[in-house]
Symmetry: C2
Subunit: 202 residues, 2 copies
């Protein structure tokens, strides 16, 4: 009596179940979808995985995704080396680039400090950040880690370690989102928005 | 200014986003996970996809997953051909096999009727089911589609079409789950449990 799937199906479900945010039920659903889908579609998925893995590495300077040694941003010599924006992940670079407000370089930490998950400064690209400060003539470091516990702890740690370097260290502003509603803001955000208030010259 | 990811990363996110239940955020999360993961793990995933796709097909008789022409259950000649259990998906076979209560054969419809999604009887393996009735000497068909709208409609449709065949057609029982609590049962289930009450011989 066969109480499980044939081996290749079970192997596929197991592998899919190892992905973040994919439980056993979703893994099964995706596996069934793939087995029913046209072979072309499935080949495209499997190829895109191996292709990305083979072609993409981390930029040797800033740890953004790169196809060569350096990422497109580090290769762009119109970008200022004086201002360095520190982020947790490459996805944050995409978000920041969309604003069109930043013209310096980035440094990707590849995560944030999280004692609960056993992620300390050594697991992040923090040592590499300090090495860049002198080498590239950085004058300001903007700490753009997420405004949550892990991101705040990481920003605070880096700020403290950057003290001896005599450069400007700033933190991205927390406050009310544009288009938001004061009434619906949580107290923490509202509190931050108050503390971070700025003079207006009218 | 690079406002998106390098091409292989974007392609990977796009392909992952086409999977059922995977939104753009999850696709990005999984893509980042894969790019950071050890190459061996990623190769195993990509291989398991192409391997399953290459080796697994549908059983030519019952449309369960199979590695050859027939699935392990159809190949097992200890299983009775007289009783046929009709299910929506291969996953239902796994669930039913775990009970150890059924020793006949299965027929997988590969879905359920759903007018909203444009799935009619022609999209399901219903024609193939009728062909089996005479050919295999089936004496009873147990309709084991899900106890939801789509499953009920499908069961009703098949039951009606099986009328001319002068065989026993049954529907899996709906009622209270074993170990459940009457108080917390929804009215529909409780209603079904009442209607489906059985004599007990004590």
């Amino acid at each position: 009596m066969a109480a499980t799937y044939t081996q290749p199906v079970q192997a596929l479900i197991d592998e899919l179940g190892r992905l973040p945010g994919i439980g056993p039920k979703s893994a099964q659903r995706i596996a069934f979808h793939l087995l029913k889908a046209p072979t072309g579609d499935v080949t495209r998925l499997s190829h895109s995985i191996s292709d990305a893995k083979a072609r993409v590495r981390f930029c040797s300077r800033c740890f953004n995704f790169a196809e060569g040694d350096l990422c497109p941003i580090c290769l762009d010599d119109r970008r200022s080396a004086q201002v360095l924006c520190v982020v947790e992940e490459s996805s944050d670079i995409v978000a920041l680039e969309k604003t069109g407000e930043f013209h310096g370089r980035y440094h990707v930490l590849l995560g944030a400090m999280s004692p609960l998950e056993g992620i300390g400064p050594e697991q992040l690209k923090i040592k590499e950040l300090f090495a860049r400060i002198g080498a590239e003539g950085v004058e300001e470091v903007i700490l753009c880690t997420n405004p949550n516990t892990e991101g705040e702890v990481t920003a605070l740690y880096i700020a403290r370690m950057l003290k001896p370097f005599d450069i400007r260290v700033t933190r991205i502003a927390s406050g009310l989102p544009v288009g938001g509603d004061l009434e619906y803001a949580d107290e923490l955000t509202l509190g931050r928005a108050l503390t971070g208030r700025r003079d207006i010259s009218a």
